[in-house]
């Protein structure tokens, strides 16, 4: 049994010079390698879109951390993606204020428009939909975030426009 595991186990990939450069910069901010782990994962995700097993092993090796320890960090935070995501990740708030202002039906609108549920990616790899528990913008609920942009006071029409704009960016 252990032999099978050994032959199919993922191997660390080589980090790119850009990734290494940024990780090295982060290392100057912290006294312990553990503390750099999360930043390094964010850096890798910035360049690769998500954190694959191969990337995680690469970061673990580079920082001399146990992969198991780094995996604990990577899976703890829902903004670190351990599975491939689409070009745009729609973070849709389903917390109390948004829920009171009808986010359920808006979510239904996104689902029927894009044909994806939470955690899924469109076939053209353009969109991934995930829930987030509050974006801290409750006075302008319902809200969602894509990349660095927060979209507020959502309506079905606004959502159609956002999707169209994001598609146009491609």
């Amino acid at each position: 049994m252990s032999n099978i595991i050994a032959s199919t186990a993922p191997k660390a990939r080589a980090l790119t010079p850009e990734e290494i450069h940024e990780i090295e910069h982060e290392k100057t901010h912290y006294p312990y390698a553990q503390a750099v782990g999360l930043e390094a994962l964010k850096i890798v995700q910035k360049y690769q879109g998500w954190v694959s097993d191969e990337s995680l092993l690469a970061v673990a090796e580079y920082l001399d951390l146990a992969p198991d320890e780094l995996e604990g960090v990577a899976t703890f935070f829902n903004m670190i993606f351990r599975r491939p995501v689409g070009r745009h990740v729609i973070q849709f708030c389903d917390s109390v204020a948004c829920w009171m202002l009808g986010c359920d039906s808006l979510k239904g609108h996104i689902t029927s428009t894009l044909g994806i549920e939470y955690g899924e990616t469109t076939a053209d790899n353009m969109f991934t939909l995930i829930p987030v528990p509050c974006l801290g913008d409750c006075d302008k609920a319902p809200v969602l975030q894509v990349g660095d942009v927060v979209y507020r006071n959502l309506t079905p029409e606004k959502i159609d426009q956002i999707i169209a704009d994001l598609r146009a960016q491609a």
Binding site: S2, Y32, A66, E71, T75
Partner: protein
């Protein structure tokens, strides 16, 4: 002490402990999950909630977690008033639990079951979907069933924080938390088995036990001692239907505390082996056909050999068996069954322990040490339990830092956070990297001889009357200065060494350091690892005699009785061949078939530790008595009984006590043959033991008389009074409402303290009158052509009997030679090549960066290479027509060379 009031009862408690621990110490029930007596508090499970009142007028109080609370003098607490909260907490904990108790191995000894019942959560209101998880393959030892998890985090706190494992951890968060490995595969820690005991439910289970499972109450158990190494951990084996089913830890606060190693837990499969010797056999000539004979005939033949035969004892046989052989053949004809090198070393250990002003370190001493020097010994592989204790000792700096800030010492997470990677200094001087390197301040790679020189130099620097060494290199001098500075600053220093590198100077150097640190009443801790369960007991019986194995082999005797010993593991094959060939009659008493037994004219089937009672003397010179767990299947008999015509073990022990100087104390080991509880012997079976009338129904519907134990004290039955709080004869802990091993606190004088009425065993060596004297700092450096050989030990594989247990076999590997990559280059070796070792056949090569060029590590006891056939230097060359042998699993060799882990050199 602080006086507190809990629900109207007043208790005197220790304010240095947390309230949960103190309440339990008062034998009051309070549920908990995440707290563990060996691991302290983190306050995560919310089960030990109680109400604390501000003053006498306060009627409302406030809710606190007992495990995170310091008992306050005069304070009033209520366990009852927080019952509602605890019931609510456990209801939410239980939401995803599958309630699969009938098919769960933990069922019937489950802390979660006990706490659920105790908290009053008896009816399930949640009817939603439950979370399900995928389980992982974690190797041959531990089963994984994540769905049962209640996220108490004990597994992580044990495996990672306590035992130093890095290949395991928590993943994800809140109701999605998962405990496992990054990728499935065997757990690397040598202490993984304790997960099965630490986990409050059935997430981590003993996989070996699962294969032939029986409920806890259906197991016949006894207080026993592990036979797998020289530490002598207390264990509790369990039997059903005539086979040994499992081994669990048996608490002894001075020897093993709450934990044992995986070799001890999973290494007893040989007891059930098909290679067991089960009948008496005899033959006229060495190559004749063996015929089965009656036990009486065999015994008569054995007895007839007395007077003309020499006897060869064994470090893995009990004190009683060795003594019985010595009495049978006469002390002049009794020879130690250890290699000649080991003979000298073990005598030296006895000399140091008896005549030097040192404190022989038990496990508590080790855990409390704040500066440690390990000279040469690879403790993880030769005396594993001590390595786990050493891991705790480096935390003492953090605890001191915490004490200065007035943190209580049970605040586990806080203290780890405070200390970060600051540790008490631990120095390792060793010929290769070891598994403790990650907690060491400095690892210095040196040959055994150089390690001894460094040791002597340390002693000399501490006390200039100790002999000096010249010609230290600059690096060595720096190391010595650093170690000396730390030792001088230490409150409780510890020196660790042992016999495994076969270097006498190493022991002397360790003794000199400890002597140099002795200061009147205050003595330095010294722990010297010895190879086997009764190595020191055997040597005590030699009483200074010079009867080495070499002397026996060269004696020209015509008759010999070999007790539980494969001589081919003790001396070069050629010498053993010629000795056995020259014998007219060879009698062998043993448990498993082996090469020595193949030459025997008379074979007597001996009982293993599980079927015999007896005494082992551990590395501290501590004698500990073990009770047979189940009756041996006739004609199998304990060796001591074969050799004495069936004397009671206690009677033989009394004779040993009378014969050894200072041995009278041995009489305290057992409560005496006429011991009883309420007129009856102590039962080995639980009062809930089931199926007694049915379990033989396939053979006969008549229930036979219960098997009788010819020794006193315990019987093979559930009849008798189970000692519920008295640990005089302590096997499996159980108390009303506490079915799991957590019931232990009911037997402890206080949580984590000694057991009530129990025996710690007795220490046989007394060095109270020892004065400061020094061993000479002479180190003989081996010289010669070829590679200088040093032995390498494997926890899984080096020991004779455990390596023949199936689970250990899966973790063990075939023999190899370990070389520095530069040497391999010179020999033209690639990592996948084989090496011809002088005339000893070819084995795979293992490249290890930490090994010094010019030296070669040869594993002891692994199949394919006999360490006894090695000379001090060997020539190596690339093997021709090489094919890796079956059973060669380099991945099974867990070493600490980081570059190897990353796959660069391997």
């Amino acid at each position: 002490m602080a006086k507190i009031n809990v629900d109207g009862k007043v208790f005197e408690v220790d304010p240095n402990n947390n309230l949960l621990q103190e309440i339990l110490s008062q034998q009051v029930d309070l549920p908990y999950f995440c707290w563990h007596p060996a691991m302290g508090s983190v306050g995560s499970c919310r089960q030990c909630a109680i109400i604390e009142y501000a003053n006498d007028e306060d009627q409302r109080g406030r809710q606190v977690m007992a495990c995170m609370t310091v008992p306050r003098e005069g304070a009033r607490y209520s366990i009852e008033k927080a019952a509602g909260f605890r019931a609510q907490a456990i209801e939410s904990i239980m939401i995803n639990h599958p309630h699969d108790c009938p098919v769960c191995e933990e069922g019937g000894e489950c802390h979660l079951q006990d706490m659920t019942v105790m908290s009053g959560h008896t009816y399930r209101r949640y009817d939603g979907m439950k979370k399900t998880h995928n389980n992982q393959y974690l190797g041959p030892f531990i089963g994984h069933e994540m769905n049962r998890c209640i996220t108490c985090y004990r597994c992580v706190r044990y495996y990672n924080d306590y035992a130093g494992g890095t290949d395991f951890g928590p993943q994800a968060s809140h109701d999605n938390t998962y405990f496992g490995r990054f990728q499935e595969g065997p757990l690397e820690s040598e202490f993984s088995g304790n997960l099965a005991e630490v986990c409050p439910t059935g997430v981590f289970t003993d996989k070996v036990f699962s294969k032939h499972y029986s409920r806890k109450w259906d197991l016949q158990t006894s207080p026993s001692v592990c036979a797998a190494c020289g530490v002598g951990c207390n264990i509790n084996p369990g039997e059903r239907y005539g086979t040994l089913r499992r081994v669990v830890n048996r608490f002894n606060d001075e020897v093993n505390g709450y934990f044992i190693c995986d070799k001890g837990r999973f290494g007893t499969g040989y007891v059930n082996s098909s290679e067991r010797i089960t009948v008496c056999m005899s033959r006229d000539t060495h190559d004749g056909r063996p015929v089965q004979i009656e036990a009486d005939t065999a015994r008569a033949q054995l007895k007839a050999m007395a007077g003309s035969a020499i006897g060869i004892g064994s470090p893995r046989a009990s004190l009683e068996a060795n003594f019985a052989l010595r009495e049978l053949v006469g002390a002049d004809n009794f020879h130690a069954g250890v290699s000649d090198a080991e003979f000298g070393l073990l005598n030296q250990v006895l000399d140091i322990y008896s005549n030097r002003p040192v404190n022989i370190a038990n496990i508590r001493d080790i855990e409390n040490s704040d500066c440690i020097v390990i000279l040469g010994e690879d403790v993880t592989n030769t005396a594993a339990r001590l390595a786990l204790a050493l891991r705790q000792s480096v935390r003492n700096l953090g605890k001191e830092m915490a004490a200065k800030l007035k943190f209580p010492n049970w605040q586990d997470a806080a203290i780890r956070q405070l200390a970060m990677d600051r540790k008490s200094p631990l120095y390792i001087v060793s010929p290769h990297s070891t598994r403790l390197d990650d907690v060491a301040k400095t690892v210095h790679i040196a040959s055994a001889a150089d390690a001894a020189r460094i040791g002597f130099a340390i002693a000399n620097a501490l006390d200039n009357s100790a002999p000096a060494v010249s010609d230290l290199s600059v690096d060595e001098k720096t190391l010595v200065d650093q170690i000396v500075a730390d030792l001088k600053a230490a409150r409780q220093p510890l020196v660790v060494s042992g016999t495994s590198l076969l270097e006498p100077a190493l022991l002397n150097a360790a003794a000199n350091i400890a002597t140099a640190l002795a200061n009147g009443e205050s003595r330095c801790n010294l722990a010297l690892a010895v190879p086997e369960a009764n190595s020191l007991g055997l040597m005590m019986l030699m009483q200074g005699s010079g009867n080495t194995l070499g002397k026996a082999l060269g004696s020209g005797s015509k008759q010999a009785i070999v007790l539980e010993n494969d001589l081919y593991r003790r001396a070069p094959a050629r010498a053993v061949d010629s000795f056995l060939g020259g014998l007219d009659k060879l009698a062998v008493l043993d448990t498993l078939q082996n090469r020595t037994g193949e030459a025997a004219n008379l074979v007597l089937p001996a009982g293993t530790f599980a079927e015999s009672s007896g005494t082992f003397v551990n590395y501290e010179g501590r004698a500990q008595y073990f009770y047979s767990t189940f009756p041996a299947k006739a004609p199998i008999l304990s060796s001591a009984k074969w050799l004495t015509e069936g004397k009671k073990t206690e009677e033989i022990l009394a004779e040993v006590a009378a014969s050894l100087p200072g041995g009278a104390i041995l009489n305290k080991l057992t409560p005496g043959a006429d011991f009883n509880f309420a007129g009856m012997r102590a039962p080995r079976q639980h009062h809930r033991y089931s199926g007694r009338t049915a379990m033989r129904a396939n053979i006969s519907v008549h229930e036979p008389k219960q098997e009788q134990d010819e020794d006193g004290i315990m019987n093979y039955s559930m009849e008798g009074v189970p000692p519920l709080k008295d640990a005089t004869v302590f096997s499996s802990p159980w108390a009303p409402g506490w079915n799991s091993n957590q019931s232990l606190f009911k037997f402890e004088t206080k949580v984590g303290g000694p057991l009530k009425q129990a025996s710690h065993g007795v220490r046989l060596l007394d060095n109270s009158g020892a004065a400061n004297t020094w061993y000479d700092a002479t180190v003989t450096k081996a010289s010669g052509d070829g590679f200088s050989v040093f032995p390498v030990y494997h926890l899984f594989g080096s020991e004779e009997l455990t390596s023949r247990s199936p689970a250990i076999g899966e973790k063990a590997t075939a023999a190899y030679v370990a070389l520095n990559p530069a040497d391999a280059d010179k020999l033209g070796l690639a990592a996948s090549d084989g090496v011809q070792v002088q005339h000893n056949g070819a084995v795979p090569v293992l490249l290890r960066n930490s090994i010094q060029p010019g030296t070669v590590g040869i594993p002891v006891g692994l199949d394919g290479l006999n360490f006894q056939d090695m000379t001090a230097n060997v020539s190596l060359e690339k093997a021709r027509d090489w094919q890796s042998p079956k059973g060669w699993r380099a991945a099974n060799i867990i070493v600490s060379d980081r570059s190897m882990k990353k796959g660069e050199a391997n």
